[in-house]
């Protein structure tokens, strides 16, 4: 049984302008010890997928249908008391901007301890020790002294380390990281990514790494999901996605990024503008921007189908007989 199994998840926001189908039929599984990357442009549904798993959607958002199973236990429709035990305990999440999740008026130590006291059976003294231990784990120097400081006394990179410490304090089975390094400089990002990888190996947990940065994916992820317009257009191992892309959007994404070799060539961008979820086309959502779109693409969306072992894509090009 998979650690996490998401099946045909549909999440919508009900707005004045209409129903926004932010997540539109997403299915995947996550195994222990694995790092799963979710990539895609902004608005493609990466964060909403994560928030749906955690059930921390904004008011207007609702899981319309589908299933999220943790160790076989259904979470969609589970009472809030059950979700409260799962959030922070079994699944933790860290966000792009750590400042929004830290309370500026409490010391780092008290916030760390609160997380530990809330989710584990430790007493205050044990919680203090655990908090110090966690700060050491994420390479914060002088952890005892740092415990007594406030968030503003920490740099952006240090705050993100604290958030990782907090997320890991209760030894979750799954860590969801939503663009955790997007706001940070590369040298700091590199340190945080290495740290996450180290801890993941040591603790044997699974990570869902949400990012728009293909470099981060290449560095960290075993498996990758590529999202477009709320759906999965391709999934496979990192090597599948980077070396044998089978969806036109993935191909476009890869040829859009500058690489070492592209210095003397022109980039090959994807034409057009990002999709408007309120005006979804009838067929493949990528068809309006796809240079190879065929008649069938405009009429009907391609199903997500196996192209090789462990590699799936939703693109009619793979079925073209020639």
């Amino acid at each position: 049984m998979a650690l996490l199994e998401v099946t045909d998840l549909h999440t919508s926001f009900f707005t004045d302008a209409g129903e926004v189908k932010a997540v539109n039929g997403v299915s995947f599984t996550l195994e222990k010890n694995k790092v799963l990357g979710i990539v895609g442009e902004s608005g493609s549904g990466k964060s909403v997928t994560a928030y749906s798993i955690m059930q921390i959607l904004a008011k207007a958002g609702k899981i319309v249908s589908g299933s999220v199973k943790l160790d076989g236990e259904e979470l969609v429709g589970a009472p809030e008391s059950v979700m409260n035990k799962i959030r922070g305990n079994r699944i933790s999440i860290i966000f792009q901007d750590p400042m929004t999740s830290l309370n500026p008026t409490y010391t780092i130590g008290s916030q760390l301890m609160e997380a530990i006291l809330l989710h584990t059976g430790r007493n205050r003294k044990e919680a203090w020790e655990r908090a110090v231990e966690m700060l050491k784990l994420v390479n914060v120097n002088e952890p005892e002294k740092r415990m007594k400081q406030y968030p503003y006394e920490f740099s952006g990179g240090m705050r993100q380390r604290v958030m990782i410490a907090m997320a890991l304090a209760c030894e979750p089975d799954i860590l969801i990281a939503d663009e955790p390094t997007t706001a940070l400089d590369v040298t700091i990002q590199a340190g945080i990514l290495e740290l996450m990888k180290d801890i993941q190996k040591k603790e044997g947990m699974a990570i869902i790494m949400i990012t728009h940065d293909l470099g981060v994916v290449a560095q960290l992820c075993d498996e990758v999901i590529v999202m477009y317009a709320g759906g999965i257009c391709e999934k496979g191992t990192a090597d599948d996605i980077f070396y044998y892309p089978k969806h036109e959007y993935t191909k476009g994404l890869l040829s859009s990024i500058p690489t070492v070799d592209s210095e003397y060539e022109k980039l090959r961008p994807i034409a057009g503008t990002p999709i408007d979820l309120l005006n979804m086309p009838a067929g493949c959502p990528f068809a309006p921007r796809c240079e190879n779109a065929m008649k069938v693409c405009i009429r009907q969306a391609a199903p997500l189908e196996k192209v090789s072992e462990g590699h799936m894509a939703a693109c009619w090009m793979n079925q073209k007989k020639d």
Partner: protein
């Protein structure tokens, strides 16, 4: 463009300093040295990339060069002419413009596209009547790939990529020769980013533009730049041809920076050996004595703590500010 090395530089920056006075309380002020004595040239038609971590002074350097701030010290020489005095600065403002990072906040939401692009024309009195103004605006919109039907629309109705096109059209309005591009693609999704990068290249080819291209994404900078300059704590620490600095960086900071770039290729990424830096960037209010990088440099010696290394040519066309540049490489 990769030829064009012998001519007189279009822009010369000499010992430029930009300090800010910070007032903390009634009588105490502190001096923040955002840009501290930088010098470099940019040739006509060239793109010079400017990189370094946030807060190292890139934006300030760009603004100071454009005289959007009054430099604390130093000179900016454009086309052989020193920029000083009101008349010279005003003429220079037409020849040297800026594209900003955030197309959302740098554009006034109550202005139409046509007014945003036309504003510099009005301010600088560059058109004599409404018909000419309209023609110029439509021509600029065409240059950046905007549909003429969009002229009467408001910027907030546009996607990020389109807004950046508006920002670029505005920067082109006065027929500049030199543009400071301050993180112009950082807020965009990669597919749109590629469209805008290609457009910058195309405009450069067609109009002979010269760019100072500021960005924190080193792969983007590598793609677009002929040469790259690296800043750390307000100082220039290295400047060289793109290939040289990317493939064989000489300054210890540049080496760490290059090794931290996550390469979008799993095999390369897995094989990468990162040079980790200890500690964090010091505050520019408490810049260390000696080499600004010595607090984090794996090669620092006692001499590095005492004396500031000068930016000097260690190989043809390669400038490095490190006492030990030749020993450690």
């Amino acid at each position: 463009m990769k030829d064009n090395q012998q001519t007189q530089p279009l822009l010369q920056v000499k010992n430029l300093k930009q300090y800010f006075q910070l007032n903390n309380g009634f009588f105490s002020t502190q001096v923040l040295k955002a840009v501290d004595d930088i010098s470099f040239d940019i040739n006509k038609g060239e793109t010079l990339g400017l990189v370094g971590e946030s807060g190292c002074g890139k934006t300030t350097a760009g603004r100071s060069i454009l005289q959007l701030y009054k430099p604390t010290a130093g000179e900016v020489i454009f086309d052989g002419k020193k920029i000083e005095g009101k008349a010279t600065i005003e003429a220079y403002r037409q020849k040297a413009t800026m594209v900003f990072q955030d197309p959302y906040s740098s554009l006034d939401p109550r202005m139409t596209v046509s007014d945003i692009i036309g504003e510099p024309l009005d301010v600088q009195n560059l058109v004599s009547n409404a018909a000419e103004r309209r023609e110029r605006i439509l021509d600029l919109m065409d240059k950046v790939g905007l549909n003429s039907e969009h002229a009467a629309r408001y910027a907030h109705e546009f996607s990020g990529g389109q807004r950046q096109r508006v920002g670029i059209a505005r920067a082109l309005a006065t027929k500049p020769e030199f543009i400071v591009c301050d993180e112009p693609v950082s807020a965009l999704d990669v597919s749109i980013q590629a469209q805008i990068i290609n457009m910058f290249e195309q405009l450069q080819e067609n109009m002979g533009l010269t760019y100072l291209f500021i960005a924190h994404d080193l792969l983007v900078v590598r793609h677009i730049s002929d040469r790259i300059a690296v800043m750390y704590l307000g100082h220039l620490v290295e400047l060289a041809d793109t290939d040289a600095i990317c493939d064989r960086p000489l300054h210890p900071y540049t080496r760490a920076l290059m090794s931290a770039v996550p390469m979008p290729d799993p095999k390369v990424a897995r094989a990468n050996k990162r040079i980790a830096l200890s500690g964090e960037i010091p505050s520019p209010l408490h810049a260390p004595k000696g080499c600004p990088f010595h607090t984090r440099c794996p090669h620092a010696t006692d001499a590095c703590k005492e004396s500031m290394p000068e930016l000097k040519e260690v190989e043809s066309g390669r400038l490095v500010a490190c006492h030990r540049a030749l020993e450690i490489n």
